[in-house]
Subunit: 340 residues, 2 copies
Amino acid sequence: MRGVVLHAPGDVRVENREDPRMEQPSDAIIRVAAACVCGSDLWPYRGIEAVNQPTPMGHEYVGVVEEVGAEVTTIKPGQFVVGSFFASDNTCEICQAGYQSRCVHAEPVGAIGTQAQYARIPLADGTLVATPDQPTDDLIPSLLAASDVLGTGWFGAVAAEAGPGKTVVVVGDGAVGLHAVLAAKYLGAERIIAMSRHADRQKLALEYGATDIVTERGDDGVAKIKELTNGLGAHSVVEAVGTQESMMQAIRTTRPGGHIGYVGVAHDVQLPGDELFFAEVHLLGGPAPVRRFLPELVDLIVRRELDPGKVFDLTLPLEQAAEGYQAMDQRRAIKTLLRP
Amino acid sequence: MRGVVLHAPGDVRVENREDPRMEQPSDAIIRVAAACVCGSDLWPYRGIEAVNQPTPMGHEYVGVVEEVGAEVTTIKPGQFVVGSFFASDNTCEICQAGYQSRCVHAEPVGAIGTQAQYARIPLADGTLVATPDQPTDDLIPSLLAASDVLGTGWFGAVAAEAGPGKTVVVVGDGAVGLHAVLAAKYLGAERIIAMSRHADRQKLALEYGATDIVTERGDDGVAKIKELTNGLGAHSVVEAVGTQESMMQAIRTTRPGGHIGYVGVAHDVQLPGDELFFAEVHLLGGPAPVRRFLPELVDLIVRRELDPGKVFDLTLPLEQAAEGYQAMDQRRAIKTLLRP
């Protein structure tokens, strides 16, 4: 089959990879209908994470089930499915508490590489959610978004306890941050402040429900948020970048007793204990347990109550994946959808 | 009046201080019935925090109201009162949300120094809670404990979401940690694991409701907690020390999705962002909003349902404060009560 392989920073190739085969009786093999490039794929693409060997890429996916193992009981061949970037059994104590990304049997789907024609999905019953029918083509981008960026933004907003009466700040205007805006809106937040400097992203943030745009960053950004919240800070802050600056911005813009949901994968972040102590904020973050939210998100998408597919402003055939990475790296695209 | 002044690390003196005077119409002056030495007083006593000038000491207190300002409406002269170590108006948005230690008008009572015969308490209506009657002498230690160590341990347990069905770990066996055990028991926790190496503290932890004692620390302590929790970690962890080691122990012993309440004042702590991210735990901590809990705690104490006064294993006249500090520093006493 054809699949995307990162050979070195900036060196994305589409090449022949071995077809996936069943390895465990709980596996499924899917034919990938659509995959995409994630903000987190840009870390190794930019050389911020090491690339030590040719690495199959991709952890977001929707597709049609080709084959299931003997132990798979709920997922059937022919179904159209959405899954998370962590395979999970969905039955252990951690999964049952809603933290499927930390399932005791969790496996990162990123190790498999879903920017390809086919993919083996471990723990199929626990990982995959089938749509009620074969979706029409226009629903595919939104279902694909649910696989990571929507589910991750959703987790950020839930972790930040966005809801009625709340002022929510979203730090980061990538696809995850934009979907945190969408989630905060759906969860009933009163005011949603998107911190963004890019016109195309500001526009989408407003479409998704942002009530205010703040372009300042760092101390100026903090001052602006304080000014907009009677000097108190926001009730809820979603951090969707993963840098020291963005985490400190989140901590400093949250009011005492407020909630931070942080979903940007942390890179070289050290949180100063004394500042955190006196900030007196709730913190919850990590790899999003997307599977917790998938049944609801898939339902909302097929009923056309959510349109997260808007975030894909570039669609390319899988063979042109390199251009998709470059466009995101250069911020010419918010997010690239790849069609195998 | 007589009061405790720290002149340099290890140099505690009881000397003449100026009598406090009303400064604001919202103040009250109280005659201190009992004060005590806090674990946090040991930081400057040990020279870990700088002592730049002679410093009046003490932030825990119970006493009788002598005088109130013109704006004080609920607190009356003659009442026996308990207050928190942060004065708060108890009316602002932050107080109303339960975070009185971060009140928009918060003032640290520690700046006043309550290890003395009298003390000025700012924002008396918002800060002080009166007992229904004059308490009998045997209740005074417990009421004094409510002023900080009980209230702080309580906040730690509430922040860690201790409750029915939960396994709670308490890191730190000082007075705050011991009261976190008491709080976890009251809140209905199923299992309470106290991490302690000192026989006197282990004994009190068991009296307060601990079901298990773990003496290991660091990686061995983490391994032991994992062993006791099916490899998953605890649901709830209270951190009551404030060092890098204790914070990392708390993070590493909490299961994904679990809750950490951290109430040890952070000293030279840096939390590694990547480990925190993948730990996927809830964090909440800071200076405890004791005022949130005081009405309930005072009620439980006067009805003799809680006996936190047990933590005072040394009672001295105020004039012997230096011995009280030394006994705690040398771990001959868990906590010293001072009688002016």
